[in-house]
Amino acid sequence: MNSVTRPARRFGGLAACALVLVLSAGLLEPVSAGPSLPPWAAAIKREAPPMPAIGAKEFSERVILRERSITVLPDGTFQERVRSASQVLSSLSEVSVDYFPFNQETDITQSRAWHLPPDGKKVKRSKKRDFIDIKVGDNFLNDAKARVVALPDAKRGSMMFYEFLANQRPYELGTYEFFHASVPTDMARLELTVPAGWTVEHRWLRAAGPDPRIGGGGRHYAWEMTDLQPMDDADMGPRPLEESPLLAVNVIPPAGADTIAPAFGDWKGLSVWYEELSAGMDSPSAEISTAASGLFADAGENFLDRLRVTAHFVRDKVRYVDNEVGIGGYKPRPAADTHTNLYGDCKDMGTLLQAMLATQKVEAYPVLIHATSSGTVAEDLPSLLAFNHYITAVPLPEGIEVPESVEPAVAEVEGRGRVVFVDTTDDYTSFGWISGALAGKQALLIDGEKSQIVTLPGRRPQDHRIERELLTEIGEDGGLSFERTTRYYGEHATWRRAVQARSSEDRRKLIEESIKRRWIDAGEVAYTVEPERDDGAYVEVVTWTHPTLIEAGEHTVLPMFQGAESLMPSVALGRRKVPVVYEHPQTIHFRTVVKGADPLVGLPEATEAEGDGFAVRTSFEREGDEIHGECRMELSRTRFEPDAFRALRKIYSRSKKAGGASLWFD
């Protein structure tokens, strides 16, 4: 999918690249006489806050103003003006960089920049050659670009002013604005002016924001936020951009207005637009029909088996190549082309799946979702900008029994009953499961009048789980033999399957070395892997031997749930100021059998603990000459604010204690 959103205004890689290119072009020239700052910049200069004292700085500059101003013309064209003013804080800075994101539907009419050195005497104005347009994103083909300017000779106290003017032909009459600061920002503002008779709707997403100032007879709107501070990008923390307030705005023309882009009054309207845009693209060719028939025949009579093999056919046969130029960012290519070429992007793959299923009289619908950000959907303010990914929903026939291995991807949808969601773009997630990136997100199911915002499933602890069985045999000579079978499901499977696919040898070595690190004298480690079972499990079986138990002082020990402590990630909390976020809920379930243990060896203490969003339980029992142990940890809560760190520390402590249970031998 294509999106013309406005994320953070500073980005390192691009800035660095731009720096090299712009510097090589030769740069600013002093203006011959007199102050030449534009009035808006001169006003900012007069009111600029005092410079902080000299010293090493966390941020090399601060933004005094970041303003985006849109005037909507009667035909729906966006006349856009972006202004920013920043001040260099570090003596080590040599350049200051800014940029303006755009696409092929944008005509940039003016790009200007001014540098006011700290002595305030000579303003340097940019030249045309100072600007460079750079492709943005790692898509194979797209039209997302940024116009970048780098002002050289920056000094501590230098003030930089940038202004971009552009006419944009939007794909919809609406916009998103991130009130995000990657450096301290005194003021950020979005201004919107609409023609007389138009209305404006807005919603704040992710965090509360101010109401707009409205003027000009109800035609001018301005949303302002002050003193925005950057947030730490901490390990296991939320992404700073996703914590920032996000403003969604739609403009609605009066009935009958002829505009170049649609205005979406509700989600159904957006769905209709999409259905019209993609009409006919899912028409099946004879080859598609033949392929689908063959797959259905091979899969047998079970409906879900048929779905699985078809979804996996698309996932495994079609390679991901995205072409997101212009409306091609939204409009899928014909399913027949995708089937022949065996490449395409998410919407092409999803459309092919729908075409294949249609030949077998199975209904399937597009679902638009945001694969990389959360909190982008306003339930009552439709926008294409809420999404950047396409998956498929397949309603399940009534009465069909859904096995445990498909449940994680099934949700009840109003007016549709149970629906299974399928992401054919995700190479490593099995049919019946939802990746951590999509689980629980809101999405738009496109189905004519029944179109609606739905919430994806996959947010139960059992939807992302690790099941490990360890069989340990203690020989008469005290030697040990181990057989460890681990089944990973959901995101745990997705992640490991991806690692294994990149290099099966590296994965094997990683597992073998992890065994040998713990069991220093381990003999040969045998490793087998089954990357994808029909139930979606990624299964690894490891066997090894070790001549003795592990020494611990005068005793020897046998850990019952080895590795449990490392499977539940933890992070230091003492200095932390940002929440701890787990991508998804999870379950870790260990079952251990020890054969041949001395009958006198004591069993570890059983434990049970529960907290807000967490439960851990261990139990041990003797059955004949076998000792059985079980450890189950469930994390249903995924976000811990700083005031919940005490509870989180308790979780860490309880998990460690439970996972550390051992048998002690004299």
Binding site: A56, E58, K135
Partner: protein, 657 residues
């Protein structure tokens, strides 16, 4: 005659098979899969998992300004889904200033069907565009590709390029390369050379015919990646195409002599007698003992009195940048202003050394984490640093020093040691071994204690660490370089902060002075001690962040040599107090491990309320060959086993609940 000589030279240098060096006749590959291609299967253990490059052919003619010509052909077999990306074709040349003269691209499916990607289906992608420069590449996706298919594509393109640059192409990859052919016709206004590094024993040939140079390689085995391996350039066969300055001599000996001449000349220009002699008056040099003690005094004086700009802390850099001062590249200016670059300090020291009667030269040193010195590669960019070699009258060999580095006299930074540098003696430039600092001079000592918190719920650990020589050298300067926030993060990490260990104190008190040894002060609390009410015995592992990490080499076999940073000795002494309600049992046995790579000793003593632990770990040597890896691996394994030791505590009668 000259042509033959160069050809012979190239062949001898690379110890490679000569090949006919004409421009390659690049043509599309066959539209059918050969039997050999059909037979190729994935073999992950042999490095063949996702695909095999069957043919890679390039003709690069940049002999004419503004009129380059590039021909390229790639044929590959796809073996997995991960390998499908090979079919996403990017022609990485600026077509905005060029013209495609020929293109073919096809997929040969396992059933023999051939799918074509026509030139008209290639799409332009503008990577950047400015007033004076637009860079646009062409992209296309080969259709119908599945694992088992062979892809074959190629192109011929004319380019209006106005720049030339050196090029380094790894010939060996993580996967096997069946055939690699590269012909290059360089721009004829500059001397150009081609060389292959680490090609010994491989099927690689080089040759030259007229202005065309060529490399031909067959059946190159994959080169795996391993921890602690030498830099890439030193383990993979790599093709280097490079230009020299106009008029540069094209024989290594003469080339390096010329370089040495230039650098020695710059030292002479820099170090005029008068300012040096004036400074020496200030130094209070010892009159006894000859030039040796004088040199050491000068070395120390430079460390203390002349700021090395390269070692400034973030705060110092910030303050220095505020001063808009014009600098002059003379000893007089440096000595007056007391600030210098590393290079100026090296030159100064050479000047002073010569003043006191020593023989002294600059030495070019490569950073061995990136590459080693190769005399055949006539390019000074292979060096990253300069140090100084001094020899006192009557001495047989040079002493290598790095003035202003903060290291003691006779030591240079570890990443320059253990390999050859180039002695910039204008009369006789020659390789010089840069010695490794012995372990005894690189000692980090850690002392601290561990005790249990309230209700035995946590373990409190505090320790202090100090390093000498190379131990802590890099860390000390890296911490100074970081911004205050980055520095704090780094210090907490060094103190072992993680989910189970909350660090309360993480300080490096001597960071203000670059010449002070590295010192680290840490304290923190480990949660989840796991002492339940019903536990009668408690075992406690001694490992943690207070014990400097031992190289984590678990694999039992090795392809590449192991290269360590520097030999070292770690000394750790910890006092461990018993948890409340517990008492120590018996001290574990002392562990002694002896090996050619160092000795290890772990000693326990029972005290009234716990134990003391003394650990000494020695790591000698710098590079361990694969043949000797087994012994080294065994040593590390035994050390890991010993470091896994635990002390035991028994619940006392009073402690029973």
């Amino acid at each position: 005659m000259k042509r033959v000589k160069i050809w012979l030279l190239l062949a001898a240098l690379c110890a490679l098979t000569p090949v006919a060096a004409k421009k390659l006749d690049i043509q599309p590959g066959p539209t059918t899969m050969t039997a050999e291609e059909k037979a190729i299967q994935a073999d992950p253990a042999a490095g063949t998992e996702h695909g095999v490059i069957l043919v890679s052919e390039t003709n690069w003619n940049e002999s004419r300004a503004y009129n380059e010509e590039v021909e390229f052909h790639l044929r590959a077999k796809i073996l997995s889904r991960e390998g499908l990306g090979l079919a996403d074709v990017v022609i990485p040349h600026n077509v905005a200033r060029g013209k495609i003269l020929q293109w073919w691209g096809r997929t040969i499916l396992p059933d023999g069907q051939v799918l074509e990607l026509s030139q008209s289906e290639l799409q332009p992608s503008t990577e950047y565009e400015g007033q004076s420069l637009t860079y646009q590449v062409l992209k296309g996706a080969l259709p119908g590709v599945v694992p088992g298919a062979v892809i074959d594509y190629g192109y011929k393109i004319n380019l209006r390029s106005d720049s030339i640059s050196d090029n380094s192409i790894p010939l060996q990859r993580a996967w096997p390369v069946r055939s690699f052919e590269y012909s290059w016709k360089p721009y004829d206004k500059f001397p150009a050379s081609l060389m292959v590094t680490r090609g010994d024993g491989l099927e690689i040939g080089t040759g030259r015919d007229g202005n065309w140079m060529r490399v031909s390689a067959r059946n190159l085995p994959p080169v795996p990646e391993e921890d602690y391996m030498p830099p890439d350039r030193e383990v993979r066969a790599t093709l280097i195409l490079y230009y020299s300055s106009p008029g540069a001599v094209q024989k290594p000996a003469a080339y390096w002599k010329n370089v040495a001449n230039q650098w020695d000349g710059s030292v002479k220009m820099f170090t005029r007698k008068k300012p040096l002699q004036a400074a020496m008056q200030e130094m209070n040099l010892p009159q006894e003992g000859g030039p040796g003690p004088k040199l050491k005094k000068i070395y120390d004086w430079l460390s203390v009195n002349i700021r090395n700009d390269a070692l400034m802390s973030a705060e110092e850099r910030e303050a220095a940048a505020e001063v808009d001062e014009k600098t002059r590249n003379t000893a007089a200016w440096v000595l007056e202003n007391r600030t210098a670059s590393s290079f100026q300090l090296d030159q100064l020291f050479v000047g002073f050394a010569r003043q006191v009667g020593a023989e002294a030269y600059l030495v070019f040193a490569p950073n061995r984490t990136r590459n080693y010195y190769n005399p055949q590669y006539m390019n000074s960019r292979q060096f990253s640093d300069l140090v100084v070699a001094v020899k006192l009258p009557g001495e047989a060999s040079f002493t290598l020093v790095d003035p202003g580095s903060s290291l003691p006299y006779g030591q240079v930074p570890w990443f320059l040691t253990g390999i050859d540098g180039l002695l910039l003696n204008r009369k006789k430039p020659e390789p010089i071994k840069i010695p490794v600092t012995p372990a005894e001079q690189n000692v980090q000592t850690t002392r601290g204690r561990m005790e249990f918190g309230e209700d035995n719920d946590s373990i409190l650990i505090e320790w202090e660490r100090e390093g000498t020589g190379q131990a802590g050298f890099s860390e000390h300067h890296y911490l100074r370089y970081l911004s205050p926030k980055e520095r704090e993060e780094r210090l907490y990490r060094l103190c072992g902060e993680h989910g189970d260990f909350e660090v309360d104190t993480a300080e490096a008190p001597e960071l203000g002075d670059p010449n002070e040894p590295f010192k680290l002060i840490c304290s923190g609390e480990s949660f989840g001690a796991g002492i339940g009410d019903n536990i009668g015995m408690y075992s406690f592992g001694i490992n943690g962040a207070h014990i400097p990490p031992v190289p984590d080499l678990i694999a039992e076999e090795r392809v590449h040599p192991v290269v360590l940073n520097f030999p070292r000795i770690d000394i750790t002494e910890m006092e461990i107090s018993a948890p409340e309600g517990f008492e120590p049992t018996e001290a574990p046995m002392t562990r002694n491990i002896k090996s050619p790579y160092g000795d290890y000793r772990l000693e326990f003593a029972r005290t009234d309320d716990g134990y003391t632990v003394k650990r000494r770990f020695e790591l000698k040597g710098l590079a361990i060959s694969p043949a000797n890896y087994g012994t080294f691996h065994e040593y590390l394994k035994e050390v890991r086993r010993a470091d896994g030791s635990a002390v035991e505590f028994r619940r006392t009668a009073e402690g029973t609940r």
